[in-house]
Symmetry: C2
């Protein structure tokens, strides 16, 4: 990769650690807003369901002699066995992860947290782990919602969390090629701030943005709320470096190549099971001078989705394009009066434009002309601003609902346009049938392509006596419905452990054998994130 080298830059402010039993910044944790309590009580009842007191994880399984090997690699100060950090590195933030954390279950806390600095130290840790058969769980932001941070212990001497927190450099910026090389431990806002100093932007804003990491974005094929304009994260990656137990990979000599299979696409989405991504070179863009988010109302989810399709197939995509179904529109509406006076909120679409004022103006006008022509109603900037204001907050609400005995989960999938309606109704029906009367299923489309789109479901139900079993039954029903409809098991949440039972149905037995062959070649001892991704 050619890029203009510059002095590596690091973030100035340390990242806040997430609460071990909840999403996000502990200081931002909320209880259910008073305005919502009445509605929630009406729908699900209210039963205060507090999390258990903080428990103590099991004693570390790795002895000092073994850990001395790690200390020799990264330095004594960077091997941690204190309970506090081990608890913070226990699992991710899936609903089952949170249910277990809230129940005080710390049975799969890592035995140690190791913080290597740089590719060579990562490689040495992997060699050490292979020699001693210690499971390694790469840890970036810890925001995984599919069980990708809960490694198997059986058959291993122990589990270490490979914490990338010291690898937070902007390694290079190439303003001619418009690329930047980032270390994996950089969180979303940290990468954003470093790039902004160069007048650049990545444009990747998943809901986990405030806590998720560059390495995680790559390893899970993350997709952000501005994917219509900036693309999925995997589409931004032009090069990457990875350490594996059996050697290093340096990939990406050009934006595109015909030099065989694209091995970048084998590491992207590998969820720490093939190697640890130690640097990512991404396409960047100029910081937008202007951002405008408009609201549009549609009489139905189908009418709105057809309009999205028209934009995608007409080559007229805005930067942000999302559409809530009737139920989500009704529930999420911050200001129902803005939606229309006839009492029917319809379906809310957010249409965002970013760029120079000229780009925003011309694209906004062209998109508006198409949407108006197709029957949409322009609601102005109110709904868009409201959406932009709360865009990263939904996971906090999940905790607040769990606090009052409401089980909340999100699921997402994608399919081709002609299959959208079937997929929507089948998954909705599967969730309602499994979780019973009073279950609320909301849906939105937030990622669109010429040939299809994603569907993102939010489901809420009264929590039963065994919420883990309740969650599992719903997950099975929804996932079975996705596979039966010929859709993907996940559009942007990755496989982890939660989706693994369906992966073989999606990629077939031969596809699974390919994954296993790559895994065996790169990680013959099977120490990398065991139990995750590869069936």
């Amino acid at each position: 990769m050619t890029s203009r080298p510059n002095t590596p830059q690091q973030p100035r402010v340390p990242q806040v650690e997430m609460h071990p039993q909840r999403w996000g910044d502990p200081a931002a944790a909320t209880s259910l807003p008073d305005s919502a309590r009445g509605l929630v009580e009406l729908a699900f009842g209210l039963r205060e369901t507090p999390a258990a007191e903080a428990a103590t994880p099991p004693a570390p399984a790795l002895d000092e002699a073994l850990l001395d090997g790690l200390r020799a690699i990264v330095g004594e100060a960077h091997v941690h066995t204190d309970d506090a950090l081990r608890v913070l590195r226990t699992r991710g933030k899936s609903t089952p992860d949170l249910l277990r954390a809230r129940a005080g279950d710390l049975s799969d806390a890592p035995d140690a947290v190791v913080r290597p600095d740089g590719h060579d130290e990562v490689a040495a840790v992997l060699a050490w782990a292979s020699e001693h058969r210690v499971a390694v769980v790469p840890f970036g932001g810890g925001t995984c919602v599919t069980g990708g941070l809960a490694a198997r212990r059986d058959g291993y001497a122990g589990v270490v969390s490979l914490d990338l927190v010291r690898m937070k450099r902007l390694l290079a910026v190439d303003e001619v090629s418009m690329t930047a090389t980032l270390e994996p431990g950089l969180r979303g806002p940290e990468a954003e701030a470093l790039l902004a100093e160069h007048g650049l932007v990545l444009g990747h804003y998943p809901q986990s943005f405030q806590h998720a990491s560059i390495g995680g974005f790559a390893a899970t094929r993350s997709s952000g709320q501005s994917s219509a304009g900036y693309g999925r994260f995997d589409a931004m990656v032009v090069g990457l470096r990875a350490a594996t137990p059996t050697g290093s990979l340096d990939l990406g000599t050009a934006p595109a190549t015909a030099a065989g299979p694209d091995l970048r696409q084998v590491l992207l989405g590998s969820e720490g099971a093939f190697g640890v991504i130690t640097a990512v070179t991404v396409r960047v863009r100029r910081l937008p001078e202007q951002k405008v988010y408009d609201g549009w109302r549609w009489p139905s989810f189908s009418a709105g989705a057809d309009a999205m399709r028209a934009l995608a197939q007409g080559g007229l995509l805005p930067t942000v394009l999302r559409l809530s179904d009737e139920a989500e529109t009704a529930i999420n509406l911050a200001d129902p009066s803005s939606i229309g006076s006839d009492g029917d909120p319809g379906c809310l679409m957010i249409v965002g434009h970013e760029g120079t004022p000229e780009q925003v103006a011309s694209r906004r006008a062209a998109v508006a002309a198409v949407l108006a022509d197709l029957g949409g109603t322009d609601l102005g900037e109110g709904p868009g601003e409201s959406w932009a204001h709360g865009r990263f907050n939904a996971p906090y609400l999940r905790d607040a609902l769990l606090d009052v005995g409401v089980l909340v989960e999100t699921l997402e999938t994608a399919t081709f346009w002609s299959n959208r309606e079937r997929l929507h109704s089948d998954v909705k029906a599967a969730l309602e049938a499994t979780l019973g009367e009073g279950t609320l299923v909301l849906c939105h489309v937030s990622h669109v392509y010429e040939t299809g789109c994603s569907l993102y479901f939010t489901v809420a139900a009264r929590q039963g006596d065994d919420p883990q079993a309740q969650w599992h039954a719903a997950k099975v029903a929804a996932s079975d419905a996705m596979i039966a409809a010929g859709a993907t098991i996940t559009h942007h949440h990755a496989v982890g452990t939660d989706h693994k039972p369906w992966l073989a149905q999606e990629i077939g037995e031969v596809g699974v054998r390919v994954l296993r062959a790559v895994k065996s070649e790169l990680d013959p001892e099977g120490i990398l994130n065991p139990g995750v991704l590869v069936p």
Copy 2:
């Protein structure tokens, strides 16, 4: 994959077979135009160098008992051992392939040509070949220019050409999702005609378009002359089916997914070494109502390339965008008078727009404004029409030049924008140093991305006594220069056998091990295109 099934459709007119010693339709073969003879004589001399008389291939190595196994799978009528067809399935159309064909060398003719019809027959042929250790060379259009159709014989009972000529169906069209499922044996114009009946277009026009196949486009990551507007072929593929010796792969449940590594990207570019692609589902678009190709003049190659970069990074790409350097502009100019009156032709850029009249008009105006602002001179439609008229003809000229003792080869690569100038000068210098005084090196950019571009070189030199050795020395020098510059060994011609010596330097030893692991898993007997792609 969800798509609206319809009756499979097949082309109405049989495809013309290419001349065994030359490119393309034998009826279209030309000798050097009189208008060019003088120039060529001045530059290289003229030495009539006719091809040898048609030779006879060696007797087939596979005995009747073995072939009966094949006949049982595909039917007696579809296993061919006649010399005429074996000769037509000998190698591809690289310059070394042609030099050997012209010398009468048919030593690596396949022992048989087998024509399966459908996925299951392909799978059965691969099982038969694995059992009997017979090498299988998948054959689509036969246009490969990197030695991808010249299989190793050593250690094998024989070699069969797996000819996909019977697999030419349009299997499905989904006009909602805008996808089409095509069989691999369809040639470019055949696929185009079938899609046009639905008002659809693929938009993939490599120089080999008239003869190359859908399967070949996928297996080699082909890129066409309209890649700026329609994308590379690999970017069009949303799904594919492949038969391997150990099972079948059906991939593509959505336009994008986070369900692990993208295995479509492992089969794309696999050059028949991992499996045989038996169906490809591609994104299609509406047939353009209007096509306009403009010429623009630039004072230098760098000025023109910077303008291409501005378009790509500004999100303003036309459908066709190509730029010739000073030498190529001067040589290829059909009508020098159109280029300017000051005697300096500068560098010619072709800027093509396709779409509805409204789309063409607005995009053309926006692009023209940027180009004019950056110092380009609008030459109108003359140069563009001239380019469009002759766009598929260059390979015929290569034969005409070989006829008069001029060795001609093309090479292509890609890199990030900041590395473009170095790559250009290094490859040019390497070719000139190796081939000696009087060597002509032309270059153009024909594929652009936000972060970089391709470089396509045409080199011509006086043919020496050992043209194979002469070619090899030049290939080594140019390829070494590409790798040393950090560029890719091939942007759209694939690896084949010619680029294989450099692949390990591009993807590294670990990357090679990944390819080998996948190959071993899917093709444990190593019967698929042995010697091609995998180092």
